[in-house]
Amino acid sequence: MLNNRHTFDSQLQELKEKLLKMSGLTEKSLHDSVESLKLLNVEKAEQVIELDNDVDQLEIEIDEYAVKLIATQQPVAKDLRKILTAIKISSDLERIADLSVNIARVTRRIQGQKLVKPLIDIPKMTEVSQKMLRISIDSYINEDISLAKQLESMDDIIDHTYKEILNELIEIMRQDKEAINQSQQLAFVARYLERVADHITNIGESVIYLVTGERKELND
């Protein structure tokens, strides 16, 4: 019995490590996608798009592993929540990586053009998102709810910056018809980043569920 528990614990640890690996890759693809846009580096954008395959593969792996654990160990209470949380977090991470791919596609689309404005707020937004991603995963590893709750106020910053970027871009479009196409693309990027932050707060919510067994909305 004890031995069985020991095996199960190490299986849960393995699940956790797969998830951490996935979060590492997601972090990379989020960072690189905005970097590719900032430098208009198409090569980097292509790498982000390619990296998405690895993230997708890991999501499938995590799902299958989780299903196997549920089927063979029939976990209850917190153990069950641990597995469910892993599935949910991996799906959020996968979405974040997808959104990064979308940003990389924007780089590909506007290649050869000059940026209508130097990118300042978008990298700032990315920086906050990256920090949020770190905090959400930290809260998962340490099962620390107070960390997860920090995400709420950070998400507010993201929403605020998002609105500011939109207003600025609309102003640019109004003044310069030539810039409409690219401004629209940049608005998409801001939107993608706003969605990224939402997925990260979802991770925070999952952690709260894992620890307390209760649901709490972090973004409203």
């Binding site: 640890q13 956790k16 490590e17 951490l20 690996k21 996935m22 979060s23 590492g24 890759l25 972090e27 990379k28 960072h31 970097e35 130097p118 990256q130 920090k131 770190r134 995963i137 590893i141």
Partner: protein
Amino acid sequence: MKNGVNRYRRRITLIFVLLILSILFTFYAYLKFDLKLEQSLINLFLVKYIWIFVLVIISFVILGNILMSKTLHLFHEISRTIQKILNRSVTSNLLQSAKDSDDINIAGAMNKLAEHIEKQLQIIEHNETRLHGVLENMSNGLLLVEKDRKIVLVNRAIEELLGYATNDLVGKRHIEATRHSEMSDTIEECFRTRGKIEKELILYYPREKILLANFAPMKSETNEILGVVVILNDITDFRKLEKIRRDFVANVSHELKTPLTSIKGFAETLLDGAYEDNETSLYFLNIINTESDRLLKIVKDLLDLSKIESNNITLNKEPFLLKNLVKLLLITLEKQITIHQVNIQMEMDDELMIVADKSHISQILINLMNNAISYTPINSDIVISARTSHNFYEISVKDNGIGINKENLDRIFERFYRVDKARTREKGGTGLGLAIVKHLVEAHRGNIYVDSEIGKGTVFTIQLPKEK
């Protein structure tokens, strides 16, 4: 030592044997007389003899106690000394309480042991301090992962690199601590292949950093793998410098190629027959002349720059009146001033005397004034002002021209950096002017500052320290 302990043991055993014998004897006598004598006789016997036995027993107990207490006292001392050794406050006072030769033997041995342990501990502590000092002061980040994949050792540099405190790193599995899939994969690879691995990794958090990472297996004497040592070297700045150098080479080639292409183009056209037409050939030759002048200017600027950079310049410091120098420079720039129709004002004391390398100061001022004239609309004002304080001179050139935005402000002193590529070339700049200014000011151990606002204008201020 062993002999001494045995003798104590024998003494104690003897006491116990005697005690038991006396009790048995008493009992035996009691039983025996009980069977054979009348009650009164027994009573008589008890009164007469039992006291002897009781006395014998008591005396043995007392004797035993005295002997035991001496021994116990020594054991007590030993245990106290051991406690002291554990608490790291060893004083060799064990000998004082030792009385006979056996005690002295044990105490002496204990003292020796204590000294030995103390010495060993000092060596260990010394080594540990040394190791700690080396690790903490290493500029490279270090991480030791043991066989169970947990991190057991980190240094301060790694905290800065990964953005986590030591407490958050030690004891965690490596993927939990590094959060870097490639780094973790390589650690695993190192465990598997048992060979050294070197690779470049990019960190994304808290800041983007490029790391040169070395992974080395730590092996036991039996060649069993015990752990993996990871050493991280931050090479971000190095890569940045490399990029600047690459950019510079690319820029130089580009800047030289542009005038050369047009010289070659026009020369070829002339050779192809255009020389027969006088008017055309004159026009083409003029262009060739202008372009070669530009080429010459770039080459000259490059040479100047490399001379200043290699620190080979000697400063011929001499005192001179700044206002006279500026007036002289204005004459040199007269042609441009008339073309751009700018209004130049001088705000400085007639008597302001500066001690510096006159030719360098003129080059600095010419470059700054040239920029001010070129990037200012017609009919605007340029103010050249100077003042002196007790330890430095301050000269500034202020225009109300187009201005430079914040993103470009940090980079304008880079070689060939142009805020607007097309416009600068059209104005005839080489892209090296401000780089030269900066280096010349630095050669004087001075500082240059720039303050600018788009549409409002730019102020360049140089501060030169006074001679002591």
